[in-house]
Amino acid sequence: MPRYILRRLLVSIPVLFGVTLIAFAFVRLLPGDPAVTILGERATPAAIERLRTSLGLDRPIWQQYAEYMSNLLQGDLGNSTITAAPVTKELFSRFPATLELSICALLIGVTAGLWLGRAAARRPGGGTDGGLTLLSLLGISIPIFVLGPLLQYVFGVVLDWLPTSGRINPRLFVSTPTGFLLWDTASQGEWGAFRDVVAHLVLPSVTLSMMPMAMVARMTRSSVIEVQREDYVRTARAKGVVPPRIARRHVMRNAWLPVVTVIGLQVGALLAGTVITETVFGWNGVGSLVVNAINQRDYFVVQSAILVFAVIFIVVNLLVDISYALLDPRISYR
């Protein structure tokens, strides 16, 4: 087992390396003169010259990369060309919002997806199955920028149950030391504010959870159906094992394996989804930061945010692979 984990770790090193390389190339290989492209045509020659030297554009490319990496490892991702603030700082202040949203969405998506998938697999081809299959088909077909506004309209306007934008009512003054509002409000015992935060979270996280929910439901369904037909399930029945235990210990225990992989991959879709979700719901996270940065051609912010997302994706999938090995004793011996 430790050897497997080590090997898996070693495989992700070149991938991490490649990801930084691409992030690096993204800015340095901008067509034309990167400094001009970044600062725009109207920038003063002095500003352009400053950027050129700070990027080291006059030096060989491998030196530039080495410097980029060394800065990166020290947490220096450059400065925003719009606000001149360090990108790292900006990312850090926005990150908790995105994380809070993503985690909620993932939890909702995975829980509901597992439940729906198992319900559909109970009688394949039956009415429940048909209905749920249609539902998950809709889930993977409806984009966030359609579902989001629709939910806003129904629950925010027509029913007027939930807020449609922002993370918290701006008139509530709560200190937010960690930036995770659920935690901040709960730990201070501000239960009114906590409820407000939850209410703000519902629509965006449900919207964002639709895709992972549908994918997890589909995979769970087909995986459970397949495992139900396995010989060892028949063996368990032949032994007289009670049905609830067969469902849990034999079917689900094996059906989990492909589902776990799907969950890992869905984290990528989820991160990409935050970009649009945050835009729709006025959520002040990394996603909306990226969108603003694109529109303002703030390349360093775009570069860094994409890099951060990629690194998260790699780390999550590393964890997924490790948990896979924990779930399947055959893996570590391969």
Binding site: V15, G125, P149, T279
Partner: protein, 296 residues
Amino acid sequence: MSAADTTAAPATRAPSNSYWRLVFRRLRRNRPAMAGLVCLVVVILAAVTAPIIAPYDPMKVSLADAYQSPNAAHLMGTDKLGRDILSRVLWGSRNSLKTGFFAVLWGLAIGGVLGSLALWGGRIVDAVVMRFTDVLLAFPGILLAIGVISWLGRGDVQMTLAVGLSLAPIFTRLLRASLLSLQESDFVLALRSVGVPRRQILFRHMLPNALTPLIVQATLQLGTTILTVAGLGFLGLGPEDPRIPEWGTMLIEGAQMIQTFPHLVLGPGACLVAIVVSVNLLGDGLRDALDPRVRR
């Protein structure tokens, strides 16, 4: 005894006429898939004939008619400049389908080259290609496209290239995996043992077989791709000229005005969902028809 005893045509069998006929028959019996196909054909027809069937000029501004709710004259209503939304949706579908289709083709092309390279380029090439796909896959879908577009600039072709590139690693891995399993399959071993030339095995027997999963995946990806293209439009990376009808761009306005004018989202949104649903129905049907294992 196992269920596999009687289910016909394992995926590794050499394709033959009767195999494809069986697949086609299964597909025809799959009602949802057929419904998807019909719907898709209708959409394509509508896109092709948009210049004829669109009731209005999609770019014609008429401020007096701004923000009309759906009515007899404007079935999907009008937008803030009084343009007819139905006409814009119809014209926009041309753009969406075209970009989506070519992006998938482009992704298939890159994926095909990389996948074959991985398999026959030797161990080192294989390792490099696989790590490269790992790297590309690490950038969540739309983000990779965002990166490429902010690099290449906005526009139809750039959009196609960007989205296609983000699809490439999926196809690369799929092709490599299916070629690899074919290489070790009984039927290829059998062909080899009776002395069929390598090249003939590859082109006549292996590639056609490896195409099967690729076709299914490409169909399924077409839906996702149309969504990605619209998503990029929604993020403001659509056509530079705001007069050009594009679904994602139309939805920006809709999302901003959802409180007062929900029809701005409803029309384009419903069409978008309908197309993607039908593509996915067809893709699922194809997959089931080609690989009947995962069924009741």
